[in-house]
């Protein structure tokens, strides 16, 4: 086994060159290049974590924005409902007032018309009386040849009309 057979003659060279080569690796790779690699990895990890955090923050912000929008929309809808109710109320009131005015006018017109009808009826009745009285005077004059004074004829007509 050369490892043991050559031990005495080669151990110093083996140890020396191992220390030289491993030392070279340790100082060049371990202390020189490795920090570059790990710092790159750390930087990338940090960047990814930051990006994720930013995305999370943006999502939270968007959620908050949406919630705020929802609240605003609900408030505005409620306001709109209030405005509509108010408008309905106002409209109902004005309609009522207009109706009241219109019905008052109609009543007035009706009353005036009724008064006029009454007056006309009275006038007509009066005219019927005078016409009847004249007719009665005339009839009496033609039949009996007596002239009845107008007042008498009128009283007779009135009495006849009153008794039916």
């Amino acid at each position: 086994m050369p490892q043991i057979a050559q031990l005495a003659t080669t151990y110093s060279s083996q140890v020396f060159w191992l220390l030289v080569c491993f030392g070279l690796v340790f100082f060049v790779v371990g202390l020189g290049l490795l920090p570059k690699v790990t710092s790159t990895v750390d930087l990338r990890d940090k960047q990814i974590a930051d990006d994720l955090a930013a995305a999370e923050a943006a999502r939270t912000a968007a959620d908050a924005e949406e919630e705020a929008w929802r609240v605003t929309a609900a408030r505005q809808r409620a306001e709109a409902q209030g405005v509509i109710a108010q408008a309905k109320l106002d409209a109902a009131k004005s309609t009522e007032a207009a109706l009241a005015v219109a019905s008052g006018k109609i009543d007035e017109t009706l009353a005036a018309a009724e008064a006029r009808i009454d007056a006309a009826r009275t006038a007509a009745l009066g005219e019927i009386e005078s016409v009847a009285a004249e007719a009665a005077q005339d009839i009496v004059a033609r039949l009996a040849g007596i002239s009845v004074p107008a007042e008498q004829a009128q009283a007779a007509v009135k009495g006849a009309l009153a008794h039916g």
Binding site: Q3, T9, T10, F16, L33, L34, K36, V37, T40
Partner: protein, 260 residues
């Protein structure tokens, strides 16, 4: 050695390439061997691999994804075993894991097809032992720096009855002191066993084929099919052993960092 006889451990032989006699530091020979060459190749390939992935693109390409996959994997390993305090060990654990993984995988490359001989540095306990001692030393340094002498309470688990302490303490101490050996030997044995197995089976294939049609049918062909499966298994082992080494280092570091 004639006629296709294969020496299964020859592949672990360290061959000096240059600097055999005159390269030395404080009397210790530091010749540049094939083992050193493959450790250097491992280091270079690893540096190129990680450098290619350190482009710092926010949207990573394939290469960068691969490198970030490895760093993320080791980072998770530390986080799940030690917690937030584990991140400061990332450079060491990552270097350790990747160095062992690349050394294991490079040693498995079928470069013999083009005449080169890949060498698995992690199949030598002189190499794995140094890595294990390094991890163990870091555990000791962190443990004593952070907890001072209170670190010894690691050897007395919570709720141990007082009369049991004299017995438990040495047992825990021994199991603690064995850690660097088990850590280093596990990797060395796993890598060596796989390579020896592949070499033995390839020896069967060569001798069986040379000995005629009958032995080809009953020995060489089944061995070859088995080799294909074991090659896949070895790729798995290469990854698992690197993972186990890094994982156990994390577990030991957790003891040092958080006691029990």
């Amino acid at each position: 050695m004639a006629e296709g006889k294969v020496d299964p451990v020859h592949q672990f032989t360290i061959e000096p390439l240059f600097g055999t006699d005159h390269w030395s530091i404080a009397g210790y020979n530091v010749m540049f061997t094939n083992s050193a060459l493959w450790m250097a190749i491992t280091a270079v390939v690893l540096i190129v691999f990680v450098a290619g992935g350190a482009k710092r693109a926010v949207v990573p390409g394939r290469w960068q994804m691969a490198v970030e996959g490895f760093t993320g994997f080791v980072d998770n390993l530390l986080m799940s075993n030690i917690g937030e305090a584990g991140r400061k060990y990332l450079p060491y654990i990552f270097s350790l894991f990747m160095f062992i993984l690349f050394a294991n995988l490079l040693g498995l490359l079928p470069l013999a097809l083009v005449g080169l001989h890949p060498f698995t540095a992690t199949s030598h306990f002189t190499v794995t032992g140094v890595l294990a001692v390094m991890s163990f030393a870091i555990v000791l340094i962190v443990g004593f720096a952070k907890h001072k002498l209170h670190f010894f309470s690691l050897f007395v688990p919570h709720g141990t009855p007082v009369p049991m302490i004299p017995i438990i303490f040495p047992i825990e101490l021994i199991s603690f002191m064995v850690r660097p050996f088990s850590l280093g030997l596990r990797l060395f044995v796993a890598m060596m066993a796989g390579h020896v197995l592949l070499e033995v089976l390839s020896g069967f294939v060569i001798s069986g084929t040379n000995a005629g049609a009958l032995t080809f049918g009953i020995a060489a062909l089944p061995s070859f099919l088995l080799m294909i499966g074991i090659c896949a298994l070895e790729l798995l082992v290469a990854g698992i052993q690197a993972y186990v080494f890094a994982l156990l280092t994390c577990v030991y570091l957790n003891d040092a960092e958080n006691l029990h």
